[in-house]
């Protein structure tokens, strides 16, 4: 007898339904002795490629299908069906299933995913009445269907009729079967043996084939608990509030159990055998040939016609690449030209051998299109190592100047597809996607999807929901889950100080124990599918026969396959990544031109500007691409970069690998002359000179391999990749040792170099990638140095960095960039650069910063500006009461109301105050109905309302203003928030961030500020170290918490915003100082106590300021 094949199996990629990853299902099936296995995810082919890949590895046949809702005529789900693609029919079955899934998902979230029975029938059957129909797939009608439910009742006739009606749509042989499933539920209920038997009899009466499945949604019975939790997440209801799965029987039962189940259902050995035989026959028909059916591993680029080419694509590529030489190297010497052309030819030959010419032409075409749209682009990744990419305009980094290798990017030794990533302005990314779709046609282009998985916090949240915990409780626990995978939640509670409370509750709280248990179960399960942030798939006109699509958030079709599915399926992916920094820089350039008329080409600025490097070396790197994080700031202090290549090195060094591998210290020692650079052999000196003997880049490894074994750079890159594979490493070692010895290297040299390479294998970084990143780093630093106001405006508008906006404000203050307050006559939805009457440049705050103001209101305010007075604004901009109030509090109406602030304290002055504005706003907001703007019929009310301001109201204090700004804009515009605590801090003798650099090592200090970053980078020792950065208006200070300090400060370590930290200074470099924390306190709490004590001493009445401090803490 045939081994049983499971034909209805949901994997974990059935979002919030399936429990087990495709790979594990395939392994288990293979271990059970099955020679084929189906994957039938809900609503899509989300796990199909992983399934096929796993089956190929295991040597079993993949079967692919989908589990879909059947919809009635008003698009309501009335049941489910599983559709299985037929195989070995030259892709007909695969195409059928792809197109069918795309059709079922066509309406996105607007309508239930699924198909009517008529649609299903017409999509699985091909042909016409005359020449006959052929099935591309089989539809399995599930017990979960109208006739399945009717079969449970007394009226068998009605059930029979319902099934016959559905079956009448399927004429092609093998297009329909009835699924027989028993989950051994209570006799007479759904999914019971009784129901299964009745369905079998109904199908037999109508001569419809039947197949046995177990409607699998998890691998083993134990996983059913996880399925319960996923159900809760899907229904968004706690367990107990919805109809749960009937029991734990929907697991992947082994052959023998399925045979017994068949006998139990049929109660007739012969019928049971027939049921199993039909199941095997369908499995046979559905076995897929990955290559012939699915196009496995066959890359397909757009047709020549789609690119507008006739003739030989390679000749065209050759021509274009050579034409680019003159553009990229205008006044090139003859010798250099020869070098360039030699390398270009070598690269082109490789591309030719790999038959990737059309691919490069396509990417070049896209890059050109983006430039024509006047959008900033930059390449990233190993592609920057290619001269072809440089001369085609795909990349902006000169690979010769930066000493980059093509072989790291592409070589004939490797068959995987090239990966070219293009960074563009994030704000205009969708524009580019639309242009690509338009240019190549939606039949050749799709977006890429992305499966996000459950991590710590998400897992806690959904588990908490399932158990019906209160939102605040879930929130509290989720917030304490910090950077560890949910899978080790219980273990983490005993290790991490911030989980001490959870650990305590685990001792006697049942719900907490369940929460931890099910959170661990959810760990790493796929959670939901979304649009990949940058991937675009480009192919020929058959693309939609090979990938199912669904609508994305931006109404362009998105493939259901994710980035890991691309290479196996031979799909060519282009990453067009939105980078906010590119938008910020484009914005700055636009503002420079708008305000001063100066046209700036950022891509041709000199890369050796001394002033730019001087400014980087101050370590005030906030806002500069890639090097603004606290760690990079510290490294900048130690490293003190002076040339472009330094930036490439610094960006590459600040990675988990080099940090763990302790590569930073030897490099810095060599650089600052504390230690003499050491080279294992003089031959390696030219290769490692730039990093003082330290191996940092993949390119170093390639060159060392090549130098010592003469293997060629392409082979060297293969060896580098193989080093990461423990099975292949011994061969590489053997090869290296033998060849290096043949080339005359001493055993001691070979030993030492091999040791380095071995240690390096998992750490390194591709220099091309570092250099590509260093370009925007340099460009942003250059703008910050020479055009700080415009640059800050760009940062504010596009928010590229890791820090909150209020820190940017502090940095602007520090830079001396003038910030202008909100003004309804001048502010827009961007941070505009303005020339003040004094001729200074300044940044005007944008209206978008105000919390709780609708887009429509902002648009209305901008559209109707300017306003002549407050009444005019009230009538024409039609702000809501809250918006009017908030605008007033933030001073946005001071301008229209004629408040200058010049003599705000003088109550007798003729000058209006913000207090007067607020009084007027109270009057306006008291009016029940805003009068319509109708100049012909001015009402008395109207005149009163728009009349002059009431006078004599005092201006609010600066403290009040700061608190309002923080509350309404999350920015302290008038003054740094720390100033509210200055009285206490001065008394305590707290040190300001910019004073730290002048202190001696190990000075005891108190530092205070607003938390701007918390990081727990990987450490060589494996112990956790917490870095907290504070901003106090004078700059940023960094505090390091080791074990003991973490224990002591656990209550404030991760969640408190305003902190006071005590510790000792630790010098880390020329301009590097950090504080070794010993203790930390909640600054607000401390200040409250301090005030109380002050009040006790001076019997101060609880004043305005005190209540404000409490307000701030609320």
């Amino acid at each position: 007898m045939n081994r049983f094949t499971h034909l209805h199996v949901a994997s974990a990629y059935s979002g919030h339904y399936g429990v087990t990853r495709p790979e594990h299902l395939a392994e288990a099936a293979s271990a059970m002795g099955a020679n084929a296995l189906a994957i039938t995810d809900r609503d899509g082919l989300y796990g199909a490629i992983r399934h096929i890949g796993a089956c190929i590895q295991l040597g079993i046949d993949p079967i692919v299908g989908v589990d879909l809702a059947i919809l009635d005529d008003s698009a309501q789900p009335i049941g489910r069906a599983t559709v299985l693609a037929h195989g070995n029919n030259k892709g007909l079955g695969w195409k059928t299933i792809c197109r069918l899934v795309s059709q079922a998902n066509k309406h996105g979230k607007k309508q239930a995913t699924g198909l009517t029975i008529q649609q299903l029938a017409s999509l699985v059957q091909h042909g016409d009445a005359e020449s006959g129909y052929v099935a591309g797939a089989t539809v399995l009608l599930s017990p979960d269907s109208p006739f399945g439910r009717l079969a449970l009742g007394a009226n068998r006739q009605a059930a029979q009729q319902a099934l016959a009606d559905w079956a009448s749509h399927f004429v092609a042989h093998g297009s329909l079967a009835v699924e027989i499933t028993s989950l051994l539920t209570q006799p007479g209920t759904e999914w019971s043996t009784t129901q299964a038997l009745r369905l079998l009899q109904l199908a037999d009466n109508l001569k419809i084939p039947t197949v046995l499945t177990n409607a699998v949604r998890y691998l083993s019975p134990d996983d059913a608990l996880t399925a319960d939790v996923l159900d809760a997440a899907r229904y968004l209801e706690p367990l107990g509030m919805f109809q749960p799965q009937p029991n734990a029987q929907a697991w992947m039962k082994p052959h023998q159990m399925m045979v017994e189940l068949a006998n139990e259902i049929c109660r007739d050995y012969r019928r049971a055998t027939k049921l199993l035989d039909t199941t095997a026959a369908l499995a046979e028909r559905c076995r897929l040939n990955p290559v012939a059916d699915c196009g496995w591993g066959k890359p397909r680029t757009p047709e020549k016609s789609a690119l507008g080419i006739d003739g030989n694509p390679f000749e065209l590529l050759w021509q274009k690449a050579h034409d680019g030489v003159h553009w990229r190297y205008p006044n090139i010497s003859q010798a250099k030209l020869q070098q360039v052309q030699h390398r270009l030819s070598q690269e082109l030959m490789t591309i030719h051998k790999l038959e990737f010419a059309t691919y490069f032409l396509t990417v070049a075409d896209v890059a050109q299109m983006i430039r024509d749209m006047k959008i900033r682009t930059a390449a990233r990744g190993s592609g920057a190592g290619s001269l072809v990419n440089y001369t085609l305009g795909i990349s902006g980094v000169d690979p010769i100047e930066n000493d980059l290798l093509f072989e790291r990017f592409l070589s004939t030794e490797r068959t995987s597809l090239p990966d070219i990533d293009i960074d563009v302005e994030s704000a205009r990314r969708h524009e580019i996607y639309r242009a690509i779709f338009k240019r190549y046609g939606s039949e050749r282009v799709t977006l890429l999807s992305m499966q996000s998985t459950y991590r710590g916090r998400g897992a806690v949240r959904d588990s908490g929901l399932a158990l019906g915990l209160e939102d605040e409780r879930i929130d509290e626990i989720a917030k304490s889950v910090w950077r560890f995978s949910a899978g080790s939640f219980r273990a983490a509670t005993s290790r991490k100080p911030e989980l001490a409370k959870v650990a305590q509750e685990l001792e006697n709280d049942r719900t907490m124990n369940l929460l931890v248990d099910i959170t661990e179960r959810l760990d790493r399960l796929p959670r939901h599918i979304s649009m990949h942030p940058c991937g675009v798939i480009l192919s020929d006109a058959t693309l939609l026969d090979r990938t199912p699509v669904e609508p994305s958030g931006i109404d362009l079709a998105m493939s259901q396959f994710d980035k890991d599915d691309m290479d196996p399926m031979g799909l060519l992916k282009l990453d067009v990544l939105g980078v906010r920094m590119q938008s910020s820089m484009a914005y700055a350039i636009r503002e420079i031109e708008r305000v001063s008329g100066k046209k700036l080409d950022l891509d041709s600025i000199p890369l050796d500007d001394a002033e730019t490097f001087r400014s980087i070396r101050t370590t005030n790197t906030l806002g500069i691409f890639q090097i603004e994080s606290p760690g990079q700031r510290e490294l900048t202090g130690k490293h003190q970069p002076t040339v472009f290549n330094d930036l490439t090195i610094q960006i590459s060094l600040f990675r988990p690998g080099p940090m763990k591998g302790n590569m930073i210290a030897p490099y810095l020692d060599g650089r600052h002359g504390f230690a003499k650079a050491r080279y294992p052999h003089p031959d390696l000196e030219p290769i490692l000179k730039e990093t003082f003997g330290v191996v940092i880049f993949h390119e170093h490894v390639l060159r060392i391999f090549n130098k010592m074994t003469k293997c060629g750079l392409a082979k060297a890159d293969e060896m580098r990749r193989s080093m990461e594979n423990p099975r292949k490493k011994p061969q590489i070692e053997e090869f290296f040792r033998v060849k290096a010895a043949e080339n005359g290297y001493e055993p001691s040299v070979i030993e030492e170099v091999w040791g380095t390479l071995e240690g390096f294998s998992s750490f390194g970084f591709c220099k091309a990638h570092g250099a590509a990143f260093a370009m925007p780093t340099y460009q942003s630093a250059w703008l910050k140095t020479h055009y700080p106001t415009e640059f800050v405006a760009g940062l504010f508008t596009h928010d590229p960095g890791m820090y909150p906006r209020r820190l940017l404000l502090a940095e602007a203050r520090r830079l001396g960039v003038k910030i202008l307050p909100l003004d309804v006559n001048k502010s827009t939805d961007e941070y505009l650069v303005e020339k003040t009457p004094q001729g200074e440049l300044a940044v005007r705050l944008a209206l978008t910063e105000i919390q709780n103001v609708s887009q429509t209101e902002i648009k209305r305010i901008i559209k109707n500006a300017p306003y002549k007075d407050l009444g005019d604004f009230y009538l024409r901009a039609e702000p809501s009461r809250r918006t009017l109030q908030n605008l007033g509090l933030l001073g946005a109406l001071d301008g229209v109301a004629g408040v200058t602030g010049a003599s705000a304290t003088d109550l007798d002055s003729i000058q209006a105050t913000r207090g007067d504005v607020m009084a007027k706003i109270r009057q306006l907001n008291a009016v029940t109905k805003r009068p319509k703007l109708n100049p012909e019929q001015p009402t008395l009310d109207f005149i009163d309302l728009t009349d002059s301001l009431p006078r004599g109201n005092p201006s609010p204090s600066t403290e009040t203003n700061v608190l309002n700004e923080l509350k309404l804009m999350k920015m302290d515009v008038s003054q740094h928030v720390i100033e509210l605590y200055r009285d206490m801090l001065d008394e305590m003798g707290a040190v300001r961030a910019d004073e730290l650099v002048g202190l001696r090592n190990k000075t005891e200090v108190l530092i205070a500020g607003v938390r701007v970053a918390t990081q727990t980078p990987p450490m060589r020792s494996g112990k956790r170290v917490v870095f907290v950065s504070l901003d106090d208006g004078s700059g940023c200070s960094d505090a390091t918490f080791f074990d003991e300090a973490q224990q002591r400060c656990s209550h404030v370590l991760f969640n408190t915003r305003l902190l006071l930290i005590a510790g000792k200074t630790r010098r880390t470099g020329v301009r590097g100082v950090s504080v070794m924390a010993e203790n930390a306190w909640d600054l607000k709490e401390l200040h409250r106590e301090w005030r109380k004590r002050q009040a006790g001493r001076e019997t101060l009445a609880p004043g305005e300021a005190n209540s404000e401090v409490q307000q701030l803490s609320a």
Binding site: T185, Q186, A224, A248, L514, R521
Partner: protein, 95 residues
């Protein structure tokens, strides 16, 4: 129908199907093909833990429906079989 909640001693055949049991000092002999099914449990209300590998017994219970006779006559029974301790419990009796 009578709801009960009493432990009973059950004899089973080699397939694990009940063939007879003792209840309230009477011997009952199973006369039909007993039907086994699985009912679910609200583990989130009953269970102390739910860790990976705890087993499906937290979530589902094996149930048996059968007809049995004794001197008094023929009755239908519903039994719970706790697989973990091989304990049987009689829960419902229908006449």
């Amino acid at each position: 129908m009578l709801r009960v909640d009493e432990a009973v001693e059950v004899s089973v055949n080699k397939e694990g199907q009940p063939i007879g049991f003792r209840w309230r000092d009477e011997c009952y002999l199973v006369t039909n093909h007993p039907v086994r099914w699985f009912a679910r449990r609200d583990w989130w209300q009953e269970s102390e833990r739910a860790y990976r590998g705890i087993g499906a017994a937290v979530l589902e219970t094996e149930m048996w429906q059968l007809t049995a006779t004794c001197d008094e006559g023929v009755l239908q029974f519903e039994l719970i079989h706790n697989v973990l301790g091989n304990l049987w419990k009689l829960v419902r009796v229908y006449s």
